[in-house]
């Protein structure tokens, strides 16, 4: 039994060793420069290339000549995850508040069942749905509307007629992490003792004041943990993002342009990578993803445990 338990550590060690070994080649060649601007560019010129499409565009990822810079993928991961969180977090907290504090008991079980179910649906199915429903919707209605309304900021330009891109990836990420964030937030909020609620109510507070002072304030660390856990999922989400992000290796200012995230570039290129350096560069991206998600998840877990300690944690 103890061996089985220890195998968990073994798996983590195995992944780490294999990834470090596999990325050795790329690490020796590029060092830390792998995650910064490509050769011949500096911060200024890369920034200029992003803001102004007419200035010279760096070739970040050039398997033919063996130049690799993971910058566009780091950018893509950060932007799509950020967009996903921006959309998901307020809604998720709203749902959790409704479910724990306001919901009539009869609705609670079906809604909890629904979130559980949605959290378990494979990401390739979300991707399938996004490709055939979300992307056309974005292309026909939402993107033109955004361009018209906010086109002047430069973040929404109409040079991508496909409907794919960072924003579509952000929306599908939001849909996917919503159940996770809201169910964890709900769990954290229900871990707040009833005496806290009763004390605030006894002082004559309205229900919202009770929620704000009695519940949210006590649960805030756990809620931050839930959001970070959602972030961890968003950073590593592969299939759905791969299917809608557009698979292009450039950085553009417009959120409607095609891109690639760290996970999606691995999914797209790994089985076709021909030479060792290319493969090694992709593995190094995987290593970075592994390290980041370990840190993010560990942090989130600690924060959630800080609130729910005592109550047995749930797996899903």
């Amino acid at each position: 039994m103890i061996l089985c338990a220890l195998s968990i550590f073994g798996i983590v060690a195995l992944i780490a060793v294999q990834l470090v070994k596999g990325s050795q080649l790329s690490w020796d060649k590029f060092g830390f420069g792998f995650f910064s601007w490509p050769e011949g560019f500096n911060f200024g010129s890369v920034f200029k290339a992003i803001m102004d499409p007419n200035s010279p565009q760096p070739n970040y990822w050039d398997p033919v000549n063996g130049h690799f810079s993971a910058l566009p993928f780091v950018y893509g991961t950060l932007v799509s995850s950020f967009l996903g969180l921006l959309m998901a977090v307020p809604l998720a907290i709203g749902v959790a508040v409704f479910l724990t504090e306001m919901c009539p008991g009869i609705l609670r079980a079906p809604l909890a069942f629904l979130t559980e179910l949605l959290a378990a649906i494979p990401s390739v199915i979300y991707g399938l749905w996004a490709m055939f429903v979300l992307v056309p919707l974005m292309r026909e209605h939402i993107n033109p509307w955004l361009v018209q309304l906010l086109g002047w900021t430069g973040f929404f330009s109409d040079d991508n007629p496909t409907g794919l891109g960072f924003l579509s990836a952000g929306v599908i990420l939001a849909v996917m992490i919503l159940p996770i964030i809201s169910s964890l937030t709900r769990e954290v909020m229900s871990a707040v003792p009833h005496s806290q609620r009763e004390a605030v109510l006894a002082l004559g507070a309205t229900r919202w004041e009770m929620i704000r002072m009695g519940v949210l304030r006590n649960a805030r660390i756990g809620i931050v943990g839930a959001v970070i856990l959602g972030l961890g999922r968003a950073l590593g989400e592969t299939m759905a993002v791969t299917m809608v992000i557009g698979n292009s290796i450039e950085i553009h200012r417009s959120l409607l342009s095609n891109g690639n995230s760290m996970a999606s570039v691995i999914a797209n290129q790994f089985s076709e990578a021909s030479d060792n350096l290319h493969l090694s560069a992709l593995i190094e991206i995987g290593l970075a993803l592994f390290a980041v998600t370990i840190v993010v998840n560990a942090l989130a877990q600690l924060l959630v445990w800080a609130v729910t300690r005592g109550a047995p944690a749930r797996v899903n």
Binding site: I2, A5, I8, L91, S123, V175, I283, V315
Partner: protein
């Protein structure tokens, strides 16, 4: 205090409580709105998937192999068989190790530092992107062997099952009342025996459904298979060769330009969803009934 001053104060208080009540109403409205905004599209997605899949599913989906491009019809028999083989290998690895780990966490190691560390690592491992697992198995098995194989895919999925099975098993064991353990120990049964034939047996319906849930989840994993099992358009049951898998096939067909292949992708998605719904409902059913009543 003058009368005028008092009146101002009363008015101010009245205004304040009015504002407080309105804020309360506003927030309640917002929370309901948020729930509707979330639930409506999610239900819509779900219903859409079910209908689209149901209209595409037919018998030949289960009995025929994919037809070449341009020919209509065909099915995913090879992918279903492939998924079955991959999941079989995965279960052989993931379920015993996971259950063993879970028993350690809940029974033998309860309250120890080691158990805390294992529990924490398992939860963190659950959040590691599955594609990273794929790379690790690629480097571990595919590179030394020199070719993609069903075996590598199965191992990748099996390793992914371990943390989930481990944690659900622990959770189910913790639901067994202490009195049951104490009763066994009071009869002079050694601890290991009481764990294996009393506690684990009592919790077994829960543990089994927990394993089903892990199974159903892994069944939909695509990313770790892309460069371990690779996929195959032909019927193959050879563990040493590339093999087709349902989620991989959905991915490939979704990106194709052919309507017929899209139809197959939707049908495949429905099969995976049915698997998931069954597993999640069973877990709900078993946990809501309580572990004890499930024991014979």
């Amino acid at each position: 205090m003058g009368l005028g001053e008092l009146r101002v104060k009363v008015e101010r208080n009245r205004l304040r409580s009015f504002l407080r009540e309105q804020t309360d109403r506003l927030v309640t409205g917002l929370a309901i709105l948020a729930t509707l905004l979330v639930v409506a599209p999610l239900v819509a997605i779900f219903v859409y998937l079910v209908f689209k899949g149901a209209s595409s599913l037919n018998v030949s989906f289960f009995t025929q192999n994919p037809k070449p491009v341009g020919e209509s019809g065909g099915g995913m028999a090879n992918a279903i068989a492939g998924s079955g083989i991959l999941l079989g290998i995965a279960s052989l690895i993931g379920i015993p190790v996971g259950i063993g780990g879970g028993i350690f966490l809940a029974e033998f190691g309860r309250g120890t530092k080691l158990a805390d560390a294992v529990r924490f690592t398992a939860d963190v491992l659950n959040g590691v992107p599955s594609i990273v697992m794929g790379i690790a198995i690629y480097a571990l098995i595919v590179v030394p062997q020199g070719h993609f194989s069903a075996f590598a895919g199965g191992v990748a999925l099996g390793i992914m099952m371990i943390p989930t099975v481990c944690r659900t098993t622990e959770e189910m064991l913790l639901m067994v009342p202490h009195a049951v353990r104490e009763a066994a120990l009071a009869l002079g049964v050694p601890n290991w025996r009481s764990v294996l034939s009393i506690t684990v047996k009592t919790a077994s319906p829960g543990i089994i459904t927990g394993c089903m849930l892990a199974f159903a989840r892994v069944a939909g994993e695509t990313a770790p298979l892309i460069f371990t099992a690779l996929g195959n358009t032909y019927w193959s049951t050879n563990l040493n060769r590339e093999i087709a898998a349902l989620p991989l096939q959905i991915w490939i067909y979704a990106q194709s330009p052919y309507d017929d292949w899209h139809r197959l992708a939707w049908a495949g998605a429905l099969v995976l969803i049915i698997l998931i719904v069954t597993a999640v409902s069973l877990v709900r059913y078993v946990t809501s009934r309580g572990v004890l009543k499930g024991a014979s």
